[in-house]
């Protein structure tokens, strides 16, 4: 056996260990592969037989389990439960899982106990090709390139490169209709002057008396619950989700003395009732963790914390812009209404968020 041989005969590469066939090493000589020690199953036929029975036993158990899986599949009702688990899931999972597991363990046991277990040596070759191969490859490529005239005819070469490069344009342009342009959509919600603030589940309009000091009520614009003349909801499906993703609000009541309104938002509350966007200005989670005593509102996703008594200012966390407030009034029937849409975009920031679009 020749360790330096680079010929392609695999037979020369693989051999049983030779103890002295190794590079010199320092400071301690490479002692060569340790002598192979037989396993108990190699020397004791009884133990080998036992290992054989173990392996076959595991494979047989897998057969039984596969059959048990089929029985469970047809006999256990879908809604049966055991100890709060779905019986069917448990039975199918345990039988199939154990069957697979036993096949695997059996195969590994077979390899470890019974298969020939002497380590063998294979020689490595450098990853690189031989010098001749490399040269021949370069010559071949060079010949191909020169026969094509790629280098000699720059007009063809350059126009081809240009043509292929310009194909990128159609490829990119084709993606244009992935979606519409944003336009003003991110700046507007369905809130309008005079729209009632309604409970988010029942759709019942809120009166100031419904909200006590310290209380938080999840609310929506009334239009999301309205129907057309045929009784169909004005908003449903995707439209409803898109409207909710911007128009969801919370109504809170804070003692009027505690309120420090933002500049220009002095009269946006009704007797301490303020309506804020429910959508976090960080990445858009709906915010609802409300601390009555401190007027703090905490986003459950990334913990941006807003002070609702202080104009929705961010007092902690990764969010930046204050929570937009909805200007509020009471209509002649005594219900809370918006006096306009939000004056600033709601939800996560985007590059144009601070642009003045009025």
């Amino acid at each position: 056996m020749s360790p330096e041989s680079h010929d392609e005969q695999p037979t020369d590469d693989v051999a049983v260990p030779a103890r002295n066939d190794i590079e010199p090493a320092e400071p301690i000589e490479n002692p060569g592969l340790p002598e192979h020690l037989p396993r108990p199953t190699d020397v004791d036929p009884k133990l080998a037989k036992r290992a054989e029975r173990q392996v076959a036993g595991m494979f047989t158990a897998a057969i039984v389990l596969a059959l048990a899986f089929c029985v469970a599949y047809f006999t256990i009702p879908r809604d049966a439960e055991v100890f709060g688990w779905f019986s069917l899931n448990l039975a199918l999972g345990l039988t199939l899982g154990l069957a697979l597991f036993l096949i695997g363990i059996g195969a590994i046991q077979w390899a470890k106990k019974l298969m020939f277990d002497q380590e063998i040596i294979e020689m490595r070759h450098p990853a690189r090709s031989s010098d001749e191969d490399r040269e021949a490859a370069l010559v071949a490529v060079g010949q191909g390139v020169s026969e094509s005239g790629f280098g000699r005819r720059p007009l063809i070469r350059n126009s081809l490169i240009g043509a292929v490069a310009f194909l990128g344009l159609p490829a990119i342009i084709m993606l244009r209709d992935l979606g519409p342009l944003p336009g003003d959509k991110l700046f507007k919600t369905v809130w309008r002057r005079g729209m009632r603030v309604v409970n988010d589940v029942s759709g019942i309009p809120l009166r100031p008396g419904d909200i006590e000091v310290g209380q938080l009520v999840n609310a929506q614009p009334a239009i999301l619950f309205e129907t057309d003349s045929h009784g169909h909801a004005l908003f449903h499906g995707t439209d409803l989700l898109q409207a909710k993703a911007k128009a969801s609000v919370i109504a809170v009541r804070i003692r009027p003395d505690d309120i420090k309104p933002r500049k220009g938002q002095a009269n946006w509350d009704v007797d301490g009732i303020m309506v804020y966007s429910k959508i976090c200005t960080h990445v858009g989670c709906p915010i609802s963790l409300w601390e009555q005593q401190t007027h703090h509102l905490l986003c459950p996703c990334h913990q941006t914390t807003y002070d609702l008594a202080d104009g929705g200012k961010v007092i902690f966390g990764p969010g930046h812009r204050p929570l937009p407030q909805l200007p509020l009034a009471v209509d002649q029937d005594g219900y809370l209404i918006a006096t306009s849409d939000f004056h600033e975009p709601v939800g996560p920031s985007f590059p144009e968020v601070e642009q003045n679009r009025d």
Binding site: N30, N89, T238, P348
Partner: protein
């Protein structure tokens, strides 16, 4: 094949196996000519070590993902069309929900075994990412990415990155409240991209969030585009693995020029094939008894609702954490009408940081080789202690990742341990910078100490546990030389290179044109090998041998395989 035990004495064509297989083998080989390939590879040698199993777990869980994922596509409907649920799950009847969510409920409650397969799929995905990361750490800490394996390392980083996205796309599909919250996060993330953010958002979601196309689009990516890429990269990963042959640990008989181990057929066919069943069986048992992603408990997606304690799958936790601890930096430039807002509070941790991680990982092998000047092929692995600076960098990176990951659960930690969430956030904000530095220093010192310990054992022997009383009546513990195999394995590593300062000027006082670069490189090399303890010299070893020879103890009647006694007095064996 040469094989001492099974070399047939009769020619192959006369044996039973030869007669039986001649027909089919001939038929096939005359059409595809595979015999040459089989001859070369069927007895390919793979070395044995538990840590080489980690990548295999990733491979097999990917196969499990393909099998279970195919099953799930038979029923899953990737549609965001809102319907009224009328299925077997009582609490949801009459609710409006997307077809995606309704069909996931059907898979969970109406299709027998559907829940099991869904849970196997989800557990395998979690395992896939865990195995990829564990495998990557193994490769990193043992230096297995060094020449000629740098490209395979980069392919591995690609698998890691695509695996993350693939996992995210997958758990976003059921359109339940939790996955919708994840998509809302991605919506905010896309918006934070400077200048084009809102346009990208509208292109990705086909309009305003959530739109009605994101789930069909993610579905295409999840079942076709990304698995296709993964499959291709895995194939390339395996081909290169076979071409390079596996790395091995240094030890008696093992060198840079050979590979010692068991042949593909039969040992690895049985062990690796069996291991596929073990991985599949294990994930199936997990799916049987450990619930994962109970989407029916979350309800359909509603952009005005969220559950406290919403968490992404574990492998996205570190990004989530980075987003949570980021200060709220956002600024706007330009005149009012055309101003541009930069949401660095989202863009840095969610977009840049992921890109940074994969970039740093991808260029590491080239960076290290530039620093050390090592351009040799390496097939023998390094123990982590024998590359202290690399190991320290790795642990620093893990610490950074770990702090981010902990921060991703800051609300859960606050709740479970009754701590203040703002305090935890601040600890993570500081810890994410301080932690890696401390980890770096400690790890490097530990590595260097372990190198000293190795040298100590080589030159002074190991502690036998035998107390010897001398003629003067003093007591001492006898030391005995390490067995030759062990001693060899400890010294089978390259010597620490000589460290020289960069040459700024030549003998004639001419400045080196590459002076700054060379100085930087020399400094980096010194830093990399600083305090690295070299293995003993030949003279050291000879002197130690001499010393042992003259020593009156250990008693010479110790057997060869003796390696000290345990605390209870029982002799240990190597």
């Amino acid at each position: 094949m040469t094989d001492t035990m099974s070399t047939p004495t009769t020619p192959l064509q006369d044996t039973k196996f030869g007669k039986k297989s001649a027909g089919p083998v001939g038929w096939l080989d005359e059409r595809v000519g595979l015999a040459g390939l089989v001859r070369k590879n069927i007895r390919k040698v793979f070395p044995d070590h538990w840590s080489f199993l980690l990548g295999e777990i990733a491979l097999w869980s990917f196969v499990v993902l393909l099998l279970t994922g195919t099953f799930l596509t038979f029923w899953f409907q990737p549609s965001m069309t809102e319907i009224v649920y009328d299925g077997p799950y009582e609490p949801m009847r009459g609710l409006e929900m997307s077809q995606a969510y309704a069909s996931t409920l059907d898979i969970s409650f109406d299709i027998r075994g559907g829940l099991l397969v869904r849970q196997i799929h989800h557990w395998s995905a979690a395992l896939f990412m865990a195995a990829i990361i564990a495998h990557m750490l193994r490769v990193f800490f043992t230096g297995a990415y060094r020449k000629p394996r740098e490209l395979n390392w980069i392919i591995g980083i690609g698998l890691f990155a695509i695996g993350l996205i693939e996992g995210f796309a997958g758990y976003s599909l059921p359109d339940d409240l939790l996955s919708g919250t994840g998509l809302r996060f991605v919506d905010g993330l896309i918006r934070s991209i400077p200048v084009v953010g809102s346009y990208l958002e509208f292109f990705v979601f086909a309009g305003e969030f959530p739109g009605d196309l994101i789930i069909p689009r993610l579905y295409m990516a999840h079942i076709f585009l990304l698995p296709g890429l993964l499959l291709g990269l895995i194939a390339a990963h395996m081909v290169l693995l076979v071409y390079h042959k596996h790395t091995q640990w240094p030890g008696p008989g093992r060198t840079e020029k050979n590979v010692v181990g068991f042949p593909m057929l039969p040992v690895y066919a049985a062990k690796a094939g069996g291991f596929f069943f073990v991985v599949f069986g294990f994930t199936t048992l997990m799916a049987a008894v450990i619930q994962i992603n109970p989407i029916w408990a979350y309800g359909p997606y509603n952009p005005s609702e969220v559950t406290a304690g919403s968490q992404p799958d574990w492998y996205m936790g570190w990004v989530e954490g980075a987003v949570r601890i980021m200060p709220n930096w956002e600024f706007t430039v330009g005149p009012e009408q055309y101003s541009q807002t930069f949401s660095l509070n989202v863009f840095i941790p969610a977009v840049l940081l992921m890109g940074l991680l994969f970039t740093v990982l991808a260029i590491w092998p080239f960076f290290e080789s530039w620093v050390t000047g090592d351009k040799e092929e390496h097939h023998l692995l390094q123990r982590p202690r024998n590359a202290p600076t690399r190991t320290a960098f790795g642990v620093a990176g893990m610490t950074f990742y770990g702090v981010c990951w902990i921060a991703g659960g800051n609300d859960i930690i606050a709740l479970k341990f009754n701590l203040d969430i703002f305090t935890i956030t601040w600890i993570c904000r500081i810890g994410v910078f301080l932690g890696p530095v401390i980890a770096f220093i400690i790890t490097r010192r530990i590595c260097i100490s372990l190198q000293r310990k190795d040298n100590d054992a080589l030159l002074h022997g190991y502690e036998t546990g035998i107390i010897v009383r001398s003629a003067e009546g003093s007591y001492a513990e006898a030391h005995a030389p390490l067995p030759r195999d062990v001693a060899y394995a400890l010294t089978a590593r390259p010597r620490v290179p000589e460290l020289t300062a960069a040459v700024d000027e030549d003998g004639n006082g001419v400045r080196n044109p590459q002076g700054r670069k060379a100085r930087l490189r020399a400094w980096a090399k010194r830093f990399f090998f600083a305090h690295d303890v070299d293995k003993p010299t030949q003279a050291d070893v000879d002197a130690a041998a001499h010393h042992f020879h003259d020593e009156v103890y250990p008693p010479h009647d110790l057997p060869d395989d003796f390696s000290g006694v345990s605390e209870t007095g029982v002799p240990k064996q190597h």
